[in-house]
Symmetry: C2
Subunit: 224 residues, 2 copies
């Protein structure tokens, strides 16, 4: 990542990360040993260990590389102006990319394992920030357009949406080996958009105004 590193060393490191990403995506953290990863790289142990000394370090690097690639591919195509359509487009693209490119199992499968294996304060926890800030930006964009509810705390909403994505990733792997991720993403979009969107100020639903007041009070209690 640093500019003064040798280009050849950079290329070797990227090669190790790419081969490890595919192995982790296919067999998970528990399913591969450091020796498997050395073998997958086809490098000598000396060359390999110069870059990565532990399975955990390499797992973090592989997750991060594929997470950044997924986000960059998500944002590569132009997004619609409507925030609702952005939510829909991004969640659908995400599920499609994960289906089409098995190495993104590094985000869903390895990510699910790292969610459970990592400790509070670990470097992995900080990796969430990339997804959280992307989601919060879309919520704020929707609020600026008056498409989304003004009373929502964008960071709090982003935490919930990110949690729902983490949940559908792991439950999709558990129930179908990941095959139903697109269907689960559609189900999430369906419930989520209604939760985000502004509603008419006048309403004939009795509990509605009351619940919104509850919600507004709760939002202000979320610490920064």
């Amino acid at each position: 990542m640093t500019s003064n590193r040798q280009p050849r060393a950079e290329a070797t490191r990227a090669h190790i990360v790419a081969t490890a990403a595919l192995a982790f995506a296919e067999r998970g953290y528990e399913g591969v040993s450091l020796n498997d990863l050395v073998a997958a790289s086809a490098l000598s142990k000396g060359a390999f260990y110069f870059h990565f000394a532990s399975k955990e370090d390499l797992a973090l690097a592989a997750f991060r590389a594929k997470q950044e690639e997924l986000v960059s591919r998500l944002l590569a195509n132009e997004l619609p102006e409507s925030a609702s359509e952005q939510v829909e487009a991004l969640l659908r693209r995400r599920a499609r990319l994960i289906r089409e490119d098995p190495s993104f199992g590094c985000v869903t499968r390895l990510g699910s394992e790292l969610n459970v294996r990592s400790a509070p304060g670990s470097a992995y926890v900080g990796f969430q920030e990339l997804a959280l800030s992307l989601i919060a930006d879309i919520v704020r964009h929707g609020q600026a357009r008056r498409e989304f509810r003004a009373d929502l705390d964008a960071e709090a909403a982003a935490r919930v949406i990110f949690a729902a994505i983490v949940g559908i990733d792991v439950l999709s792997l558990l129930s179908s080996g990941g095959k139903d991720l697109e269907e689960r993403s559609d189900e999430l979009i369906e419930l989520l958009l209604a939760g985000l969107q502004s509603r008419a100020e006048t309403s004939n639903v009795p509990t509605q105004g009351k619940e919104r007041d509850h919600g507004a009070r709760r939002t202000t209690r979320v610490p920064r």
Copy 2:
């Protein structure tokens, strides 16, 4: 569970499950060995192995016992008639019970590990049904009261809500060791209720009608 089992054997089995549940809640699946669980039970190996031959079997039994206890304690107190208030009351009670009784870490912490470790088709996958049917029943109750959107598929909504709960459980453990579960539950309630509740039929929000039509089409595509 069967009525013709000896009462003493039943009591011994329940004792093993209860001591294992606490160990799994405190140290997780990876953190305890079968020997640790034998030691925690204070039984002879022979008595222990008569009931459980593997850590996995005992983990499933411990998860199931604590999941059933959590649901039964959630439903022990009278629920409000309003479906929105039921959602709010149940999610808050759940977070409070988990904070107050460390053995419920067996549902959140061990459950998060089993979500990742279990294979499609395993007995563990079927355990979700208890939570899914409870949630779907509340959604249908809200629809019958015209509190919740008639266009929602109750089972699909239950899958999303369950996924969000699974997600906040694991992210709460990851980011704070479970300390922020009540706050995250409040954030979920805030977004979820707006996603479930009916809205006024007339609306001044331009994208709203369009998105609802999309949603209705998607919902009918969900296979049974």
